[in-house]
């Protein structure tokens, strides 16, 4: 049977996050945590594979213990199981270390049932054929499984979960796996395994609005105006 792993992440509701202008840190206090909106189409992709090919869908999430809420919610869309990767040793992981931990998590899931496909947000049988949407064109790609796919929001939001599914999701207790369960080397994850370090976070300075020049009608006049500006700015030699 097709085994699909969907990776999701819990994030603070970005519409509500602010950056403290004095300390330059993210103000997270009191901000609700939600499933990363970019992961929603990934969940839907998993569900569509389940509907069409009877895939088994596992959810994998790395985060603090309270991230199990995100998994419970994601389960209500119809996934078969959810696993939370949570361990002190994973704290401070950057993109590389997180990828390492998730990869080990997928491998650990694969021990129970071989994994055919991993789907991540914003990033199918023995071979898959996917249509990649490009600007103004579509590309059809073939690849052997196992594979990793990223999906864009064009794929759609998850369906509106049924009430029994929501209740089942809320009732499910989420197993928590640490570094032991996923058999990862502790110096490959967490702060130790993260080559990137955050020096400073700051709000980007407000951009000055661009200059608006109005010149009605005559094309020649407008063209001259633009040319003058370009010369002034040194982009074009006078």
């Amino acid at each position: 049977m097709l085994h699909v792993v969907v990776c999701i992440k819990q994030v603070p509701d970005t519409t509500q996050v602010r950056i403290d202008p004095e300390t330059n840190t993210l103000v997270r206090e009191g901000i609700p945590a939600i499933i990363n909106p970019f992961d929603m189409p990934a969940i839907e992709a998993g569900m569509q594979l389940k509907d069409r090919y009877g895939a088994t869908v596992s959810l994998l999430c790395m985060g603090p213990p309270q991230a199990s809420e995100a998994l419970q919610k994601a389960l209500s869309y119809g996934a078969d199981r959810g696993v939370l990767l949570s361990d002190r040793a994973l704290i401070g992981s950057d993109t590389l270390a997180t990828s390492k931990a998730l990869a080990c998590g997928v491998e650990a899931l694969g021990k129970e049932m071989p994994v055919d496909l991993v789907i991540c947000g914003k990033l199918e049988k023995r071979r898959i054929r996917v249509r990649r949407v490009l600007e103004g064109a579509e590309e059809v790609l073939d690849a052997p499984l196992p594979a990793l796919l990223t999906v864009l929001k064009e794929l759609g939001e998850p369906r509106y979960a049924s009430l029994p599914a929501v209740i089942r999701g809320l009732r499910t207790s989420i197993p928590v796996w640490g570094v032991k369960e996923i058999e990862v080397n502790t110096d490959e994850v967490g702060l130790a395994g993260s080559p990137t370090q955050v020096r400073r976070i700051f709000a980007p300075p407000q951009r000055e609005p661009g200059e608006v020049v109005s010149a009605d009608g005559e094309a020649e006049k407008i063209a001259n105006l633009i040319l003058d500006r370009l010369i002034e700015a040194g982009f074009v030699e006078g």
């Binding site: 609700p32 979960a161 049924s162 009430l163 029994p164 929501v166 809320l170």
Partner: protein, 435 residues
Amino acid sequence: MTDKPERFDVIVVGAGPAGMSAAYLLAKEGLNVVVIERGDFPGSKNVMGGVLYRHPTEEIIPGFWREAPLERHVVETQTWVLTEKAAFKAAHRHEAFAQEPYNSFTVLRARFDKWMGQQVRAAGALIVPETVVEEPIMQGDKVVGVRTGRPDGDLYADVVIAADGVNSLLAQKVGLREKEIPTNEAALAVKEVIALPREVIEDRFQITGDQGVTIEMYAEATWGMVGTGFIYTNKDSLSVGCGALISQLVERGVTPNDLLEHMKSHPVVAPLLEGGETREYLAHLIPEGGLYGMPKLSTHGMLVVGDAAMLVNSMHREGSNLAMLSGKMAAQAVLRAKEWNDFSAESLAYYDQLLRDSFIYKDLYKYRNMARFFETHPEFFGFYPELLNEACREMLTVDGVSKRSKQRKIFWDALRRRMPWRMALDFYGAWRSIA
């Protein structure tokens, strides 16, 4: 889906203070309880000011204040009577209020309710968010469940607790109350959370540590309409808001937003808010009908609690505590009904009885005529505040006129503007309506 509709002991509709209190107590007794909430999480739709009293909250969760996310404990309560250019301020502060276990706290409900939601879940109840209850499921005149907006969304239970707030769809649909609240029995309130650094707040309000101040404002604060304005200190923000009867807002063609901006720009209010950054803006209805607005509280298979039952004492800004206590009484009635396995109207009427025997009913009875009285006596929101502030100004102005002549002037000015017998009647009426 293979899932069959599950049967619960109790369905609670609405994860506000009323619904969560009932759910918490029932789940602790081992009942199978589900709470349906349309918001993303408990508290996401709550707009309370707000002041939370310790005593009633401890009736639900003893010792809550040691762990719950609270803002400040209130040590000082101020009441201001505003006119366009002046303010008469009364303040009360007591050392006792600065001592544990404290009397009341300012809270931001989104945080507090989220915490309470965790306690409810830990007690064993299920909270289902992002789900709207659309109607009750009836069998004859019995409520047997609710229909939600989700696919396969019907739920059944022995009893439904309608804790769905001021507009209570359930109470309306079951016919326990009129379709719409009359516009003179509800206030529309708006509130902003204005961020300010901790030190600035402590400095401006003369408090230290986690001490807090509440200010209630009348008269010009609501442009002379029946209503109040308020400022409550949080840790690093102020809750600032006001509200007035909908009927009067409509009559004057004033939006609640106009009202709030007007209040915020008042010369005694503005300096307290200066430099603050508005973080949230929220609007909500407050039931003001009091005792006369109270619907029937129970029927076959359903109880109505909190704002849904219009349980707000607007004189003392008590809403959430009445909500919580009514939730507790509803839980007691349900437990008794469960024991007897009788969820009929007669059995559940035990809730009505508990409520009637409590201070809630007595307080609502005491102030039963207040709303009507003030609605028909606008002079208490215009003429008298003006008189008071101008009298103070007269007495405090040193200009070579003797104090005795000043008193005489104040007295005769007042009498020229309103007949003495009218004033006597006004105050007799006001006293009757709140005494």
